[in-house]
Symmetry: C2
Subunit: 407 residues, 2 copies
């Protein structure tokens, strides 16, 4: 890889005191774009190493979640380990952590101490609800924070449609969003610190999962405040246009069909061989279609369920109607566009052999960065990082290891 | 507001050629942290001005979506308007756009032309599927891109549980995520361009909605590639631990309860007055609870539905069990933590009077930025921006207006 393609964050060094999803996701994004990441783990490793499907005792998710990071394993309950961290911090641009609020301070790694080790350090704290306030110590589970941010109320069928509870999004959406906000905030702080007219200050970035989710909530606050209207879930549909929903296929898939304009609806009726629907006064114009959407969706579903996903997809493509099967991992892995863009790629993982990874987002065509390596074993780079960056000698490191300070 | 609290992006100037959600969301984030945003709109305005609940003919969402931006209205189909844009670009650090791939080039605003106007310009393109590849011209609807990224398959109940289709997340999650990735990518590119050891290059950032969603998909690709396992939705639960779900309250709400550890489950059984559940062999240990989760959740739901959200919340809080009501706008607006953190705030909107806005994410405590103003009317700052930044005279601008070039 040429220096020109190392990614826009080549030259940036970030230390992660993270676990679970949010902080490690933040550093995955920074590392994907070329930053050097030092991940500090406890000797037992990040719990995500045991999450999801395993192969040979190691999580496959970890291959992605830990990629492009140097893993060093330290026991932060020992003061010597805290000293080691501070030595490394002295050579870093930024630090990312997602312990509970104030926990780092109790370990002797408060913001003031960190900035004595490295003036100008950018510090990103990620938590459930923020570093201050009456609710900061509330249990920071992803599902709780997502519900407080307003997302869970909306991932449901319309009121009165179903007795089933609102669903999870199915991935750690709140944690990932918080991690992405932290990556953005870190870069904003570094830009102001490092640019020629900048102020050299190391700012603190305080990201809360519930707040990250709330920021996606469009107009629900002004709509409620000004009109007293409370946004309600709309299931597979959207409230203001029809037909657009997910419809069943003969082979058990769900086809998204968005035919919510006059020409699209006309083409859909033709493709279905149901000219009668186009002439039906219940479906004349978008307003009528929205009012009679249950009957309309039933008719479309009765048609879609007679066709396989493949056959249905062909009919809809020929009619030029925006549509797609709801992709599972199978369709994602096979998608020509994802493959063309490097968004599905094979990575050689020393633990697992060749594995499929998602690509690097955002794509920077003339400087894309790379998946340099897959997630490492616990402490795989402890010695290398302590020598190269910390300036410790092999003898010192061996002493740390005997003392149970490093793994 | 002191200069020290103007936000970490004070001094940055960004021009937006955007519409709908993704690009305008990106510039909202940049503007919230202090960047100067020039939003270029067609004379009819951004369509989001007519989306969602309206007051006095103007969308309340717009109050948030357009905040902190200078609106200028130009008819880009006229060559003179393109010239005006290029004049402004010459004074900007970055440009964000979300037209269809290649459409800006056809308007005479390709990357090469833009960089002749401003060498070193950072350009962010946001699209459904990326700027190149066999699928780049596919219809870029949010619901389609989210389904291709793998999200829609997962926002569903477990296979066999329900005939209802998988739900939308309920907000424009794919667009917002793409916009946030673009904000991150822009700052990464600007950091490398502007830092003292940087290379001064203006990189291009190519964000695709479907790819932004895919990047959140955890381990689903390596799990499929290595083991052939296809991640399936799990509804309100999680696949590997129980009990954790959403349970009905007597007054029609949903209470998230996460009691998926031995001590939490014991406390929940005590709070329910159901010691028998704790002693039931079907619920001994997490593995048994997961296997018998339908029976377990039925028991918890039968209890929760006898209590109001308020009463249930008190019982769970006393038992120290992680829980929350799934917040609607009502609970968000009243939440003391959100209020303390400025995440729910009143903003004076000249069109609507005082309205509720979500706060600024990420929170930068010592330099938080501000909501300087709510979303403006179409072209409200056309004259000011063309004079101050473009260097046009009032007479020239009047001529543009007579020619239908600006509004």
């Amino acid at each position: 890889m040429s220096a020109q393609a190392a990614g826009p964050l080549a030259g940036l060094r970030v230390i992660e005191l993270g676990h679970f999803v949010a902080a490690p996701f933040c550093t995955r994004l920074l590392g994907d774009l070329g930053a050097e990441i030092i991940k500090v783990e406890p000797p037992a490793g990040d719990p995500v190493r045991q999450w999801g499907e395993m192969k040979d005792g190691s999580s496959l998710w970890w291959s992605v979640h830990g990629r492009n990071k140097h893993s060093i394993a330290l026991d932060l309950k020992q003061p010597k380990a805290v000293e080691i961290v501070l030595r490394l911090v002295g050579h870093c641009d930024a630090l990312v952590e997602n312990f509970r609020p104030n926990q780092l301070s109790r370990l002797g790694l408060g913001d003031d101490v960190l900035r004595r080790a490295k003036p100008g350090l950018v510090i990103a704290h990620i938590s459930g609800y923020g570093q201050d306030g009456p609710g900061r110590d509330r249990a920071a589970f992803g599902v709780i924070g997502e519900a407080i941010g307003g997302l869970r109320h909306l991932t449901n069928h319309a009121p009165g449609t179903s007795d089933l509870p609102p669903v999870r999004v199915g991935v750690s959406i709140g944690d990932s969003t918080a991690g992405l906000y932290a990556a953005f905030g870190i870069m904003a702080a570094l830009w102001q610190r490092d640019r020629r007219d900048g102020d050299g200050r190391g700012r603190t970035v305080d990201v809360a999962l519930a707040e990250a989710v709330l920021s996606f909530m469009e107009g629900i606050l002004p709509e409620y405040g000004a009109l007293g209207l409370v946004r309600q879930p709309t299931g597979a549909r959207i409230a203001t246009a029809a037909p657009t929903s997910a419809y069943p296929t003969a082979d058990g898939g769900w086809m998204l069909i968005a035919a919510n304009s006059e020409p699209l609806f006309a083409r859909l009726c033709a493709a279905m061989g149901r000219q009668d629907l186009l002439d039906d006064p219940r479906f004349k114009g978008n307003r009528a279609r929205v009012q009679n959407v249950v009957a309309l969706d039933a008719a479309i579903g009765a048609w879609s369920t007679t066709l396989s996903a493949e056959a249905l997809g062909q009919v809809l493509a020929q009619a030029d109607i925006p549509s797609t099967l709801a992709y599972t991992a199978v369709e994602i892995a096979a998608d020509p566009q994802f493959r063309h863009r490097g968004m599905v790629r094979e990575v050689d993982d020393p633990m697992h052999g060749p594995v499929l990874h998602p690509g690097i987002v955002p794509h920077v065509p003339d400087d894309p960065g790379a998946v340099r390596w897959a997630g490492q074993a616990i402490g795989q780079d402890t010695d290398g990082v302590l020598e190269r960056i910390g300036g410790f000698t092999p003898d010192e490191i061996e002493g740390f290891r005997r003392g149970g300070i490093v793994r």
